[in-house]
């Protein structure tokens, strides 16, 4: 029986590194100063969550992240009554805690949440900047240091799940995309420990696969998968096997598409 000693993933720095693509850092700061809520749009794994972590740490703000999903309801954000010793006691949800104490509250993939969530955000995202807790009768004023950030992936077309215009019109918005090639090589190399020269063909391949999005692939390769792939190579796995496990199998279940992707990969990766 082999016992492996797992080695920890790269230690989390004080301020997570982030390479800006445009004016997004300035826009984040201005939105904080002018107390405007912020909407981040962009594909899976392009760095939206990392950007928020980076800005919150850089500006000295606490960060509360909520991953939204089909069953996330307003009460999951604002709070609930729980039974304690026979009484019902109010327990704040993550949004309420953030509004009380200030800092960034980040709702990831907001379109996935139930519809009442968007409405809870309305009084927080106009000039009132309040969070009414109907169940307790409280009305909380968001402090100047509170900032609401939400995100979604416009690549998923889903008429049932689109954000209503009346909600989108309450946010200043930024469109994200994948990093330019040189920057992405640097990021993947840093995060995986694999030297840049060996990362470069993997990034090359990722750019080719991203070009297939909308045709055979629902979504392009994320930077995260590139890091996974580079980790496998760095651990001694042959590059083609790492590409299959980290860049191809996670993208498709179709035998024909998989075969096509392997051919492309073999043309690029030795």
């Amino acid at each position: 029986m082999t016992v492996l000693t797992p080695t920890p993933f790269q230690a989390q720095p004080e301020i997570p590194p982030y390479v800006p693509q445009g004016n997004e850092c300035q826009l984040f700061e201005t939105a904080l100063v002018r107390q405007l809520p912020l909407l981040l749009k962009g594909p899976t794994g392009c760095g939206k969550t990392r950007f928020v972590s980076h800005m919150a740490a850089r500006l000295g703000l606490s960060l509360t992240t909520v991953s939204c999903h089909d069953d996330l309801a307003a009460a999951d954000l604002t709070g609930r009554y729980l039974l304690k010793g026979g009484d019902t006691v109010w327990v704040d949800g993550p949004l309420t805690r953030a509004v009380r104490s200030g800092g960034v509250c980040y709702l990831d993939e907001i379109v996935e949440a139930r519809k009442d969530v968007a409405v809870v955000l309305h009084p927080l995202t106009d000039d009132r900047r309040i969070l009414p807790l109907e169940r307790t009768g409280e009305i909380l004023d968001a402090p100047p240091g509170f900032m609401l950030v939400v995100s979604y992936n416009p690549g998923y077309q889903n008429i049932l799940k689109a954000l209503k215009p009346s909600t989108k019109q309450r946010f200043v918005a930024i469109e994200f995309d994948f990093l330019p090639k040189e920057q992405e090589i640097a990021v993947v190399s840093t995060e995986s420990g694999l030297e840049a020269a060996r990362v470069a063909p993997l990034v090359d391949l990722a750019h080719r696969l991203r070009a297939m999005k909308g045709h055979d692939l629902e979504e392009g390769v994320s930077t995260r998968l590139l890091v996974y792939c580079a980790c496998l190579v760095d651990s001694g796995m042959p590059a083609r096997e790492a590409v299959l496990a980290a860049l191809i199998e996670p993208l498709t279940d179709e035998p024909d598409v998989r075969a096509a992707l392997r051919e492309i990969a073999h043309a690029v990766i030795a």
Copy 2:
């Protein structure tokens, strides 16, 4: 690490400023005097909520606002039994509190609420002016100073969610639209702090974008987004970047439409 000192948004005045578009202030006052419920119709961000805040403050009435959503049920408005020390205790909802104490109760986007909400409003919106609380057996008489105001956006066509004629026929109604150009420039300048001359081209652009509604855009630019945009410019962001972040990205996720909007913007904004 930079620490920013957020500056507070414009302080809330005693009576929120409001520029009337027509006879809506007189109609609101008459509805209050004659005890008629009021229905406000109009697009997102055209000032319906502001109008209600203005009139409530001007007439010295308290204001209770409830943002309606898919899961808002009658009990969320009227009240519920909660467990306290082993007993079930009745806790008034916001509508019940407003009926007991008088003042304006404003149900924003009423069509979003569940169907039983409309029915709770029926006995409040005919000559009985009562709120029966079936769970407690109480029947509350609305005092003369109680006024019910509801709103919705007729621009969202949704047969599943339309207000029933039997409900609409219980309200006096006002149709709202965006402000005329000169008035909108004044409002945006006041709220953002940006001088009127620099606001004017932004409002010009907004009017062009609103004309595209129904073609490429689901909804036109709201006055609120114009204020956001002017805030960004006032904080030193180049106008075209501010327009992209505040007027274009929140309106569309379609690359083609975004490109078209940017072209229009570049023709208007230096």
Copy 3:
């Protein structure tokens, strides 16, 4: 800041005034004497609720009204167990209270309620005249002075929501319609305080608009909206503005239909 002194709506008389259209008063009395349940059919705002209030007061019977809606279930009518001091205590619903104490129980818009409601009514509407409370094991005998009245609007065609024949066949039924012109002028004048001569053209207009039902309008103008309109005129609002706010805006959101209605109104109202 202006403070208005709201003037109360017309005080509720002992017996609410009612102008019979046909034999409905005799039919109500006979149904009470012979212990037959009664079904009222007719459009929104034509006076069904007023008729029941009138007859109950005239015959010295208490009146319990329940507005039915999508989520109204049998238990909302019959009762529920609630927690009190750690025990579950049975609390009668409005139908059960009415069966215990006698009087008229009026279920408004019965077709809106959940299906189990109709079935709860079955043993009350045949010769057994009983209300079985399955949860408590009680079987209540309705006293001779108990009378069940239900109503719905056959104008809403909805196959999902139609009353089953097996339920309709348990009621004696009356079809209501709007009042003849002279009677409607009298009612509107009395309720609004506006002199009959100024009410007459409003009633004229209402009859024209009702003729459009099924073409551009889902439903005709109710007598209630006519009273609203006359109230606005009586308070000094120009007639055309009152017509727009009380007779046109509540009926349609379609710009084309609204324009057509305004033209008709301007032809009739100075």
Copy 4:
């Protein structure tokens, strides 16, 4: 104000009168003796419920009736745990009470109930004749004097609601229809107090209307409505008005159909 003294409906006799149509009484007795469950099929108001009441009284058996509906679940029949003094206490439902004590348990309109109800009946309707209470772990043996009777109206065609063959194949079944003319006149006269000669044309009319079933009418006139109609006439209402209120308005909401039915009625009724 008029105060009417309601006169009670005909007093319930020891054994409700019933006029057999065929061998149904013998079949009921044999089913009881051989311990076979019984299924009654037939249109609304043709006497199925009356037949069960008659047979139960005649055979000296207690009778438990449950009207089934969309939300009736197995637990409504078998029982539930309720909170009493902090503990959960099991409370028998009506079916369990009937199985424990014997007698007839009659489930009216069984097809309306939720699907789990049919399955609860399976072990009661084969040679095991047991009622397993999964929640308590008890298995009740039905005593010889227990008999299960269910009914439905095959006239409602509804593929979502049909009884599964695996359930129907567990019952001996009887098809009911309306009474022959002479018998129906006798029943209506007895129940309404109106002399047979005046009842006869009403029954004539009912037979004509029943012939229209499937064409303009979803269902024919029930014997119950005929009794209502005769009651109104007996109380002094003109026959044509009574026919309108009791035989026509409950059957249709369509103006054209109503007009046709009135013409037929006027040809038969003076």
Copy 5:
């Protein structure tokens, strides 16, 4: 008033009689010895439940039967927390009790149950033979004497309700059909007490009616209905009346089909 003395159904023997159709008894024993779960397929009333009762009694195993239905969830099989004296106490469900104590657990009409039920069975039906109780954190090992048997009727085609291949592939399976004629006559005669010569034409008729399955009848006559029919005849009811009540009315509600079945019956039965 007649008081009938019901005579009890045939007393349940120690081992319920069962006439094998093929190798099913050997297969059941082998499945028990090799600890393989068993799936029984076949039409309503062909003897699946009887077979399981027979084998369990013959092999000296306890038998737990659960009739599955639309609302049967995993927790109904595994157990739930209930409130007792203010605490939540875990109460085993029938499957958990069977796994703890051994014996046969028979889930009848498994396809009717909710989807989570099938998944609860997965770890019990591979080589792990465990029942994980996620709510309590327990993992129960099924003892060697535990055997899982499930059944369904493949005649009901319902794509929403089919067992997933990943579930079916966990069972050894047997297909059942109705008994051959001679065996069925013997069974019906034994169970009803009617002599074989008088049973024979009834079985003849049943075979003719079964041949109509899929054309006018959704399902053929079960052996159970044949026993019912023979019971009625044995109690003195004319054979044609018994056939109508026990073999025809339970099979169809269509007048045309009923008439056709009666003609077939009259050709066979005097």
Copy 6:
């Protein structure tokens, strides 16, 4: 009455035997070392669960397996508040227990679970490796020895149930298929006790049946069913009967398909 002594299934060894198909063992180890989550894809019964058991035992890691289903929600994995002595007490779910204590957490058939489950996994499957418990306010850091493994069967095409790309892009993935013939014969022989020569024709037959997948069969024969079949033969059942019970009946309910499969079987099996 025969009493059989069931013989226990093959005793579970310390490390369950597993025959690798490719680089999957190395990939599992590397994923553990580099802290990457793992996704296993492949048909029912091809050995995914066995592979995870094998690797966990071989690497000395505890293993928590959760079979996902339609009703499995995030709270079933993370934990819930339960009532204990009047208080609500938090009870960890299986995922939370695994994150607290380390080891492999294996979510089988992840696509079956409710959508909120995937989102709970997001912060565990990026570089944060955290499990936020929103209900308690805790944020758990996964220890280095924690590894998340999920699986699904891509052969079930179901657009409602596909894993979102944003979830799949968080895993390194392996595609599994059935074993090559020689390896499968060895596995079946070992697990059933039947000699390899008698297993060989069964495996031959299985390969022929798998080739029919997508045409007449929804899924091919699993290795598990082959083991069942060999067990039956090993217990003395004729091979053709064993093939019918273990390889044909579990795969199809269609008489035509069954007949075709039997013909194929008879050609291969004596």
